[in-house]
Subunit: 304 residues, 2 copies
C-alpha cells in the first residue's frame, strides 16, 4: 500500500494495536476506530475515531468523513465463555456491526475491505450444530459477508486466522500462561496452572505475521476469497506449557488433564493462497514466547 487511508476497527484490541503500529510505521494514514474515548494509547501517525459500530448513523458518518482506501475490520467479540452468557451481544457485534460497516461502505465502493473472521467457525449443515454462540456468530458473519458481496459487488476479502499470539493484551492460552508465570515470579500466585487437555493441539501464528498477511490480502487479495492464516504447525497444549515454563525464573507447577480434543475444530488449516502470494510466518516460535514473557514482565499483569 502507498500513502493511503486505512480504517482499522477494534483498534484498541490485541491485534488492533499491532496493526496500528505496523501500518502507521509504513507511512499509511491510519484511522483507528474505538468504541470508548481514551481506550487507545497514543501511537504516532494514528488518528483515533470514536464510533459504536452497532449504531448505523455513527458508522455512516465515519465512512462519509474518512472515505478509506482500505478497511481492516478487527472489531468484534471473541470470548467463548462470554458468548454463552450474552449470546445476543455476540450476534449484534459480530454479525450486525459488520453488515452495518459494509452497508455504509456501499457509498465508497473503491474500498478494499478485509473482514477478519475466525477458524472457530463450524460447517453449516441441516440442522446446523454450532459448538457455542461465538462460533455461530462468526459462521453467520462469514456467510452474511460473502452473501453481501454477491449482492452488492463490493471489494470484500475474508481472513481466517488461527490462534494469534504475541506480545500484548491477548486472552489466548500463551498470554494466560505468561501472566501466570509473571505473577508467580513476582510472588503473587503460588497456585498451579491447569490445562484441561494436554493433547489438544492448536495452530499458532504470531500476531505480527498475521498483520503481514492482512497487508498482503488488502493489497493483492481477490474479492470474495477467504484466506486462512496458519503456520501449518500443530502444537499440543502440553508442549506449549512446557516450553513456556522453561522461560520462568521460578518453578511453575502445571496440572495437565486429558480431556478429549474438541472434535469440531477444523484441523486442516493451510494457507496455500497466502504462500503462493509470498507470505510465510517470519517470527520463530521461540521468539514469540520470549516476546510474550517480556511484554508481561515489563507491562505488568493488570487486573490480578
Amino acid at each position: 500500500m502507498k500513502e493511503q487511508t486505512l480504517l482499522i476497527t477494534g483498534a484498541n484490541g490485541f491485534t488492533g494495536r499491532h496493526a496500528c503500529d505496523y501500518f502507521a510505521t509504513k507511512g499509511i494514514r491510519v484511522i483507528a476506530v474505538i468504541r470508548r474515548p481514551d481506550s487507545l494509547p497514543p501511537i504516532a501517525g494514528v488518528e483515533p475515531w470514536v464510533c459504536d459500530l452497532t449504531v448505523k448513523d455513527e458508522v455512516q458518518t465515519l465512512v462519509h468523513h474518512v472515505r478509506p482506501d482500505f478497511v481492516l475490520h478487527l472489531a468484534g467479540k471473541n470470548s467463548v465463555p462470554e458468548s454463552w452468557i450474552d449470546p445476543l451481544l455476540y450476534m449484534e457485534n459480530n454479525i450486525l456491526a459488520t453488515l452495518t460497516l459494509l452497508d455504509a461502505l456501499r457509498s465508497h465502493p473503491e474500498s478494499h475491505i478485509l473482514i477478519v473472521s475466525s477458524r472457530l467457525k463450524f460447517t453449516l449443515a441441516t440442522p446446523p450444530r454450532p459448538p457455542h454462540p461465538y462460533s455461530l456468530s462468526k459462521t453467520l458473519e462469514e456467510c452474511a459477508v460473502l452473501s453481501w458481496r454477491e449482492l452488492f459487488q463490493q471489494h470484500i476479502l475474508l481472513a481466517e486466522p488461527s490462534n494469534l499470539m504475541g506480545p500484548g493484551p491477548s486472552t489466548g492460552i500463551c498470554a494466560l500462561l505468561a501472566r501466570h508465570i509473571v505473577n508467580s515470579e513476582q510472588g503473587k500466585d503460588m497456585n498451579s496452572f491447569r490445562i484441561s487437555s494436554r493433547y489438544d493441539t492448536r495452530d499458532f501464528v504470531d500476531v505480527r505475521d498475521a498483520i503481514l498477511a492482512y497487508d498482503l490480502i488488502l493489497e493483492k487479495g481477490e474479492s470474495g476469497r477467504v484466506y486462512p492464516i496458519c503456520s501449518g504447525v500443530k502444537r499440543s497444549l502440553g508442549d506449549i506449557a512446557t516450553s513456556m515454563v522453561e522461560l520462568a525464573k521460578v518453578p511453575i507447577l502445571l496440572e495437565m488433564g486429558h480431556a478429549p480434543q474438541s472434535s469440531w475444530i477444523d484441523d486442516e488449516c493451510q494457507s496455500k493462497d497466502l504462500y503462493d502470494m509470498g507470505w510465510k510466518p517470519q517470527i520463530p516460535w521461540e521468539q514469540s514466547l520470549l516476546d510474550i514473557m517480556e511484554y508481561f514482565r515489563t507491562e505488568g499483569v493488570k487486573g490480578e
Copy 2:
C-alpha cells in the same frame, strides 16, 4: 390450545390481523405486539402491546410481563424491492429482532415459539448466491434460529408459508390485482395491469388456512422442525390474472409478458408433515378470490 396466552408479533400486518381474530375467537388471551401505538384496529379479546423488537430492553420487558405460553412471530420486513434499497433494515428486522425475541424467551423456556420464515430463502452453498437481500435476511434468519435452538434447547418451530393470499392489506399479486380492479370499477384507473411473466407459477395458500396450520404447529409441532405450508397446486400468474379479471364489473386490460421464470425458487413445496397432522387447505381458491375482491370493494383502496 386451551385458555392460554399467545404473543403475536407483527400483529398489525396482513397475517397478524387474521391471527389476532382467529385466536381471540378461540378464547385465547392474545397479546398483539405492534411497533407504533394505534396501528392496530380494536379487536375483541386482543391486548395491543407497543414494542420495538430491535430494542433489547423493550423485548425483555415484554416477555417478563407476558410470559407467553405460545409465541407466533410474524413481524419482519417482506418487500423484495425495499430490501435492495435498505438491506441493513432487513438484516436488523428479520435476523436480529428474531434473535432478540428468542434471547428474551430464554427466561421462559416453556414457551412454544413459532418463527414464520419464507419459501423465498435460498440454498446456502459456497459461495452463497442470494437472489436479493430479502432472501438473504430470511435464509440467515432460519439458519440462526435453528442454530440457536441447538444451543439453548428452546421449543422453537419454523413455518415456511408459500404465497399467502386472502382478504386484507396484503401486498401480494392477488391483492395488487384486486386493487387495480376496484380502482378501475370506481373509474380511478384506466391503465392496463402489467404482469412481467405470465408463465411464472406460484403456490398460493389462503392466509386463514395458514393460520390453522400455525395453530396446529404451535400445539403439536416438534421442536427444531421446519414446516412448509403449501397448497401443492401451482398456478401461473397468467391464469390468476384471468380468473380475477372475470370477477371485475368493468373490462380490465391485462398486459402479460414472457419473462423467464425465476429459477432459484424452490418449486417442490410439499406440506407432508402438516397433512400427516391433519391439516389441509379448507378454503376453495375461488372463495379466496371473491373474499379479496369483497375486501377491497368494502374497505376501499387506500393510498391511491
